[in-house]
Every structure is written in C-alpha cells, then in structure tokens.
C-alpha cells in the first residue's frame, strides 16, 4: 500500500510565498492575541494560586457553586465544569493571593457540603505560592532555552561541520544570558533576547541548517501557544512538557528533510537549490505523512479518551504535531533558499565593483 506514488512531484518551493504569508499571519495573530490578553494564560503552576477539582453528587451550575463559596470570600474565583458531562466534576480556581491558601481546600469542601447538603469529593488540590510559581516559570523557560541552544549547536556541527562556530555561538549566548541576568533582565525577555541573538548569529555565520531548524521550532511553539490563547486554555507545567515534545518533534521532522537535502545536494551538484529541496521534500513526503498520521492517531486517542487531566496536554500535541509537519515542509526548508538570494546579491555586487 502506498499513499504517495513514487515520482510524485509537488512544487512546494514554488508555493513558499503563500506559506510565508500564512505563517507570518499565524505568528502575528499569536502575538496580537497574547498582547491583547496581557500575556499567556498561566495556570496556577506559574502564576500561583489555588486549583481545586471537586466531584459533586448532582449537577450544579458554576453560579451555584460560586454562591456556595461566597461565605469564604471566593466569589471572584473561576468555576468551570470539567471533563465529561456525566462526571459532575468542577474546577475551582482561586487567584487571590491575599488569602491564606493552605487549608482552604477543606474550607471549600465544607462550604460546598453545607450549601448542597451532599458530600463533595475533593479530587485534586494544587496550591502554588507566588514565589514558587515564579521559580517554576523560570526553570521551564530556561529548559526551553537550553534545549534550543544545544540543538542549534548539534545541528550546525552535524550538518555543516561547523563545530567551532557553533561553539562560539554557545559561548556568546551563555555570556549574554549571564550579563543580562546580572542586570536583572526578566527571564521572559532574557530568553527572547537570547533567541534573537542566536537567530542573528546563525544568519551572519552562515549556519543555515541551524537557522532553518530554529525558525521552524519557534514557529511551531509560537503557534501552539497561540492556539492555547485562542481557546483560552491554561499553560501549566505539563503543557511545558508538551511544548518541549513539540520542539523535539518539529526538529525530528525538519532534520529528516534536511538530511535528504544534504544527500541530494551531493548527488545533483549542478541543479538549482530550490529544485533539490523540492525533490527532497517529495522523496520524504511518504514518510512525513505516515509518521505524522500514526503519531496523530495516538494523540487523538489520548485527546478523546485520556480524560480531563490530560486533555489540554493532548490538545497541545495535536496542534504542535500538525504545525510541525507543515513547518518542516514549508518553513524550515525554504529558509535554506534565503542564502541563495543573498549569495547572488553578493556576486552581483562584486561584479559591479570589478567594472
């Protein structure tokens, strides 16, 4: 059985402009959405606060639950139905940090029991102090940053044998992060700064494969975060794990296409780069579709059957793997072409000078 017949030749590179517009639009929309919402919707893991998952005996509306919590001064908290309808589970989120959060879950339980007259089963409590939330956010961001850094080094070294340059890049980045942290730059900006610097360095040191891979990776992660903002989902620690999976998956996909491009570049030395890229994407297309669809099958199973706790996690993987497949074809590989234009521009300039 075959999905993609051998000899299939779809002109992906020819359509890269449309893809650029699409990708830029998605990323711009993500940024706009984040700015409008005032940053990512961090869950209690990162913002601090209290989350209580409670199972009741009867169906109640969030408003009824809020009324029950009024006596505790929690009427401003967010109450949400959770999981499937028949499960009668609710999430109560408390953001107020002026309250003493420890021991609050018992108070919530007794308040609910007093109001409804039936037992309330506290299924899960997550209480994170503001300081810890900040720490967890920093750690997660640093993990993300180091992953990208080391992967950039590996790709440059492995694909272009520029171990020295990737070493220089690593040292520079670590230095920048060090200096910036001395001046007390917040971690979010630190990471954004480091990413911009690494993109710039990849560009000027001609580390095109690394640049392609990193751009695709940022693209995928950004759009996934955008999808979270759009559907108003919370970013928790587990979601960070999902986002890192997406980063891994995105790279996996990109590297497989890159590997084929490199192989074909050696085989067809005289062909234009664009054509070689096209051939390579087409040759690996069968694999790309097959792997993505099998992985997606598993993730869809997780999304539908995995239960409420893992629902958002599966959603992140679903979006990320979809976008990751698209980006390895339409984003990562066309980036390699940027140099072709630049190199031609340079030779033109040289010709003008020699005249």
């Amino acid at each position: 059985m075959e999905f993609i017949k051998p000899g299939t030749h779809i002109d992906f590179i020819g359509r890269r402009k449309i893809a650029y517009v699409f990708s830029l639009f998605m990323i711009a929309a993500t940024i706009a959405l984040l700015v409008w919402r005032g940053g990512p919707n961090y869950g209690v893991d990162f913002s601090g606060g209290l989350l209580i998952q409670v199972k009741l005996d009867q169906k109640r509306t969030p408003a009824e639950i809020k009324t029950a919590l009024e006596s505790l001064g929690l009427q401003d908290s967010v109450v949400q139905e959770f999981g499937e309808e028949a499960e009668l589970e609710y999430l109560i989120r408390v953001r107020k940090m002026d309250l003493d959060l420890s021991g609050l879950s018992e108070k919530v339980q007794s308040a609910l029991e007093a109001q409804f007259g039936t037992p309330a089963d506290i299924r899960r409590v997550e209480m994170v102090g503001p300081k810890v939330g900040e720490d967890l956010r920093q750690k997660a961001l640093f993990a993300l940053f180091y992953t990208i850094l080391i992967i950039a080094i590996y790709i440059s070294g492995r694909f272009e044998l520029k171990w020295l340059m990737s070493g220089v890049m690593a040292v520079t980045l670590i230095f920048i992060v060090y200096v910036a942290s001395i001046f007390g730059v917040s971690v979010t900006w630190l990471i954004i700064l480091a990413l911009l610097v690494s993109l710039g360095m990849c560009w000027f040191m001609n580390l095109k494969y690394a640049l392609g891979a990193i751009i695709a990776l940022i693209h995928d992660v950004a759009i996934t975060i955008g999808a979270f903002a759009l559907t108003d989902r919370e970013i928790s620690l587990a979601i960070i794990a999902a986002i890192l999976t997406i980063a891994g998956y995105s790279l996996n996909d990109t590297i497989i296409v890159f590997d084929r491009i490199r192989e074909n570049l050696r085989r067809f030395k005289r062909r234009p780069l664009g054509e070689t890229i096209n051939t390579s994407i087409n040759e690996t297309l069968s694999r790309t579709i097959l792997t993505s669809s099998t992985t997606l099958v598993v993730v869809v199973a997780l999304f539908i059957l995995g239960g409420g706790v893992i629902h958002d996690f599966a959603f992140a993987l679903l979006v990320g793997i979809g976008v990751g497949t698209y980006s390895s074809i339409f984003v990562a590989s066309p980036v390699l072409l940027l140099w072709e234009g630049r190199a031609r521009g340079k030779t033109k300039g040289a010709q003008v000078q020699s005249k």
């Binding site: 890192l244 099998t294 199973a301």
Partner: protein
Amino acid sequence: MSKSLSWRSALAGLVLLAALIYLTPSLTSTLPDWWSRVLPDDRIRLGLDLQGGIHLVLEVEVDKAVESHLERTVEELKGDLRKEKLRYQAIERTGLEGIKVVMMRAEDVQTFRDTVGMIYSDFDIKAGGEEDGHPVMLLILHTNARKRIKEMAVDQALETIRNRIDQFGVTEPEIRPQEDHRILVQLPGVSDPKRAIELIGKTALLEFKLVDEDHSLDEALEGNIPPGSEILYESPPATVSPDRRRIPYLLKKRAALTGEYITDARVAIDSQYNEPYVSLSFDTRGARLFEQITGENIKKRLAIVLDNNVYSAPVIQDKIAGGKAQITGRFTMDEAKDLAIVLRAGALPAPVKILEERTVGPSLGMDSIQKGIKSMLIGGLIVILFMAVYYNLSGLIADLALVLNMIFIMAGLSFFGATLTLPGIAGIILTIGMSVDANVLIFERIREESRLGKTPRAAIEAGYGKALVTILDAQVTTLIGALILFQFGTGPVRGFAVTLSIGIVASLFTAIFVTRIIFDLLYVQKRMKKLSI
C-alpha cells in the same frame, strides 16, 4: 546461521530476558519467595498523579531560627553578666542583627569586652554610642554564624519532618532539601492530606508555663497585660466542640520548662473517662527541673502550651518526681497519636510555611491511569493495524519492534527506579510515534531501493545503511532535548523526560537492531525471494 546473525540474536534475546525479569515484579501482585532472593523485585513507581498522594514544598523560615538563637543568647547573656557582676540597664535583640546591651557604668566596658568577647565568639563586639549617659554595647552576629544557624535549621527541620513521617507510617515517602531553605515532601497514597499536612507543619514547640495568678485575667483581656505575662488561648479540638469557644489564660511569658528534655511521648487511655491522653517522659535534667518547678508551685496552675496553644492547665497537686507528665485535652485517638508523634520527633527549629501543595485523591489517580492506559492501548492498536496493512509482513516486524519497545520502557522504568507519571504516559505515546518513525524511514528507503531493481537482500542492506544516519540525527536531537528536560525540569516535566529518554534508546535498539535481525533471518538465512513491504 551466520556468525554475526547468531551473535546479534543472542544479544537481543538476552536484553529481552533481562527486560522481562525487571518487568515481572510490576505485573504480578505476589512474587514467589525465591524471586526476591535472587532477582530484582523493584516495581514501577507510580507518580502522585497516578496513585494519589501529597506533594509539598515547605519553606523553613530560617530567620525565625536566627531570631530564637538571639533570644536564647540574650537570656544566657543576662546570666553571664550577673555572674560577672557587670550591671546593665537593658538587653534586647535588635532585629536579626544582634543584641544591644545598655551598660550601667562606663568603667565596665573593658571587662565586658574581654569576658563577653571570649564566651560569645560568634559575635563582634562594638561600641554603640551612649544612651542617657550609659554606654551602649552591640553584639553583632557574624555572617558565617548566621549562615550556619540557617543551614542547621534546615537540616534539623528535615530530620524532624522525616522522623514524624516515619512514625506516621507512609511507604516510600520522599523528603529532600531544595535550594532556598526549601524542603520537598512527597507522600504517595496518603488518603487524609489534611492530617498529614498538620502533622508536618506543627512547629511542636512544647512549653510549660505557670499561670499568672497575681494579676486579673479580666483586666488583662481589656488590654492591661502585666509585663512578663501574656494571654494565650485554649482551643478545644473541633471534633469535641464545634463552636470552638476559646478559653483565655494569663500566663507567665517565661517558659518554666520546654519540650527539649522529652525522651518519649506515647498515647495512653484514661481508665476513668476512657479518654486518650499523651504521657511524657523527661530525661534526668528535665525530670529534675520538673520536680523543682512542681515542688515550688504546689496548688498553682501549670499550663501545657504547644505552639502557643494551651492544651490544659492543671493545678499542681504535689511535687512530681520520676520525670513523667501527662497532657490531657479531650483528644480523639488520632489527635492524641499525632501529638505524641510530634512530641517524640522533637520540635521544628523554625516554623515551616507551605509554598506549594498538590494533592491528588486516590480515586482520581485511578481514573487517570485507567484512561491513560486505555487510550495508549487503543492508539497503539490502531497504529499496529495500520502498519500491518501498509507494509504487510514488514509492518508486522515493525509492530513486533513496537511491542518490544513498550516492554523495554516499562522494564527501564523499574531498572532506573524512575517514576511513571501522567506526562510520562504521554512520553510513551510519543515514543510509539518515534519508534514507528524509525521503521517507516527504513521501509521507505527499502522501497526506494527495490524500485531501483535491487534484490531484497541488497535493498534491505542499502535501506538500513542510508536510513541509519537520518534516524540517529533525528532521535539524538530528541534525546538531547529529553536529557536537558530531565536536568532542568521539575515534577511532571521530569517524568515526561524519563520515559522519553528511555523510550528513544529502546526504540533505536528495537527499530534498528532487532528488526534487522528478523529481516536478515528471512531474506539472508531463509533466502525469501520477494520483499513483503
């Protein structure tokens, strides 16, 4: 069979055998006796999200430890100054910095410097100007000493909490220090989180204080608290009187005796009222002090105060010798037990604050693991079916690799003593994708090669050869990512990194090494003519 093939099959067989051995304890509930004697019997540990339990991050309020160290030093200093006949007007702690002493006479300053400087080597002694014509001396605590006190407070708190939890009876608790004077406590499977948290967080500073009977309680309640006395309350346990009427007491501030002399505390039942109470034993020094206090204060009331909460204030009937005391307070059995535990394990050197608390009810953990495994099985089955349809016999070989991969991950988890969490299950699902990907890469290459007209044997050879580099590149980058996650990640992120790392290594082994053995067996050994791919 060729030499290389039999060697490779033997290795694969050995790895599988080892994996099965490591996996068996997790699959059966009862192991035969001989197993534990010869073979590993570690089970896969389930994370709190899967089996329920409590995760706490506590902060030891180390500044309080410094404060109480200074307070104690003030008391000692008073005694020493009296002994040396150095008269002082006032001694007090100044914040967390040190101690301020206002001397009576200027001529004592030099003697003060000499004697005090020798005894209190942790302090720098400085002149602090004058106050109403009296010289002021400052004792400034060394930075190193301050640091040492803080570190000791954390170490001691860790030890105390560990003791308390051991006595509470939790299997496999995890209690670890973290940076910033924090302590991580994980208690799997604890069903009554409230009780556990209360037990851990109790400072358990036990004090015996005399009731101030020279002054009127009513007047003190109106705000006229005599110096050297304080008002503390007795809160009856909620289980006994739900309205929680708090009874005030006017007590001498100075503790006559503290809990540091306790050697044992246990629960006993009052035969008359059938009520549990806690009986205490003191060491020799404590016993002597207790005898002295009770002897000097017959017919007066002595309050038993734990963490500034009065438990009872019985009237001393007679001198109590023998070093035994009782705390009564209309306890339930559990309350009495927990009180005995904290008294036995000793006081926390400083109060602890809960920074992070995650409690997962056991029922939710059960649900999560069932759903996680169910979705994993269904997803996995679809993939297995799909591969068999798409690649025929070769697809079945890949399926075998996939199943082996699962076995290796599970065995790897118990081998490394790693914890399986919900994101860990997600990591396994991703590994399914990666493992399938490796085989897809190989199979697509084999198809390409055989389209070029190569024999099955040559196509397999070339397919594996060319795909290998790609697979390594792709999976090694993911492995790097997973390892970094493991290094920097916390909680669920870490659980995910563990399964992913083990999974990638396992998938490299199964998808490249094991499937090749089968291909070689079929197309080299058995000389099958037609590739089923």
